[in-house]
Amino acid sequence: MEINALQATLLGICACLSSMPGLGGTTFGNYTLGRPLVAGLVVGLILGDVQTGIIIGAAIQVIYIALVTPGGTVSADVRAVSYIGIPLAICAVKGMGLDPSTTQAQAMAAALGAAVGTLGTVLFYGTATMNLIWQHIGWKAVERGDFGKLYLVDMGLPWISHILFSFMPTFIIAMAGAGMVDVMKAYLPMDGIAMKTLFTVGSLLPAVGVAILLKQVVKKPLDFITFFFGFTLAACLGMNLIASAIIGSFFAVINYKIIMVQTRRAAASAPTPDDDDEEDI
């Protein structure tokens, strides 16, 4: 499957908009266009195969379901995952003649997406470092009281960083992508150790994504009960995600009421410790 120059250009623009400090803004850029599920739709539209795009995007999304960047440390770069990883994965799946809806094709997409995303952190640090130049211009403007320049510094000049660190890499890799798949096919047989390992890694990777999320909510082993409640709903009872969310909401309402009753009781009993003493007597 070939990606032409126009398609590569569109992918490059999406990369500029969607990266972590992206020019689409935080809400629409990073947290909308940058999510692999949404990128699957966008890349699918650009490459003319929405169905494959969505399936591949969804498979990669599971790994990055909770990409939290506390204090600006990143373990993966969304623009690389979404606009380099997904097009490459689509090329690879089609080039190798896999059916996108199989778990193997999704494992392959996950492995490629994660590899690209991890290497892509270089792009994150590149953009952030180059922005220091524009901020330097900004500080000078603030000193002089030339405040109008602030908008240019915050929203205009970073485009230069993004042309270098988002647009160019995406454009070049997308154009070279199809050739890369041919090389893989020629040198790495599907039943060889390397490809078997690649597919297996892809099937293991979503576990990391889920674990990153659980790291925040599960502090002690007992907290796993809530997680396994949801897991069992889907794994044993075959419930889909919407049904699980509804059941989850039901228990959340109960939980909320219990906490509120507890706080009210604590508040009611706190100022009258004397009463308790009398009852004891």
Partner: protein, 270 residues
């Protein structure tokens, strides 16, 4: 008595909504986004260039938080700046103290509630709607997420402006905490369902008697290997403090060894 117009506040909000991280660097993070958001406020409250420069000086201090819930702080400082311009007993230093004090707690709430809970719930439902390559899931996420954030951020910005220092109570009071805990519960249950639906770890190992190990495992607890893999990764990251990238590399090694001993076999050929 100086009063910020609705138009000025809207302009300030829009600057923050769009530009909070566009000029990110490791050194200043959201500082420039903050300067842009405060500029309309400062320009409308102070006449002379000297006063404006002095007021803007306050916001050159480092700022970084979860930017979406952080709209609350921007709204608050707009209100405080207005009070300051009207001669109330508040100075730039006090404003910066409040700002600095809120950055950390709000980042904690925002990262865990918005990025760690709301987004995964919406994405989880989106994933559920995407089966077979259906674009409905992505469309659902785009529409619901952006509407929630647009109205949510507007709400906290103007709440912050109206209430000033009291706005924090909306987020950290007892009721707010109970709601937070309960929403995290939904998130954790949905993530459990996501894990069971989307992680497919199977073994191809054949037992000495001729039976398939995978079938035996399914009889004990379906998707047991997927569940174990999640717990293993959690254990590595939480108890052993290994970074996600290192865990991924470790999984490459696990996969390689697994393939060598015949535990894993995707069973494909060109």
């Amino acid at each position: 008595m100086k009063k910020l117009s609705k138009k000025t506040l809207n302009k300030s909000f829009l600057s923050w909504f769009y530009g909070n991280l566009t000029c990110f660097s490791q050194e200043h993070m959201q500082t420039f986004g903050y300067l842009c958001a405060m500029l309309p406020v400062v320009e409308s409250l102070y006449e002379t260039k000297e006063e404006q420069k002095e007021a803007m000086e306050t916001y050159t201090a480092f700022f970084n938080t979860e930017p979406q819930i952080g709209a609350l702080v921007v709204g608050m400082t707009a209100g405080l700046e207005e009070a300051k311009a009207n001669g109330q007993a508040i100075d730039g230093e006090a404003i910066n103290g409040i700002r600095a004090g809120l950055m950390g707690p709000l980042a904690g709430i925002g990262d865990s509630m918005i990025v760690g809970t709301l987004i995964p719930i919406l994405l989880g439902i989106g994933l559920g709607l995407s089966s077979g390559g259906n674009p409905l899931g992505a469309i659902f996420y785009i529409v619901v997420w952006n509407l929630l954030m647009w109205f949510g951020m507007r709400f906290v910005y103007f709440k912050g402006y109206d209430l000033g220092g009291k706005a924090v109570e909306v987020l950290v009071g007892e009721q707010a905490q109970a709601i937070r805990e309960s929403i995290i519960m939904i998130g954790t249950i949905v993530i459990g369902a996501v894990a069971a639906s989307w992680i497919n770890i199977n073994t191809s190992l054949v037992l000495p008697g001729g039976g398939e190990l995978q079938k035996t495992l399914n009889g004990i607890y379906p998707k047991m290997l997927s569940a174990l893999a999640v717990v293993f990764c959690w254990w590595l990251m939480t108890k052993k403090n290994i970074s996600p990238t290192m865990v991924m590399l470790l999984l490459v090694f696990v996969a390689f060894v697994g393939v060598l001993i015949g535990f894993f076999d995707p069973g494909l050929s060109y």
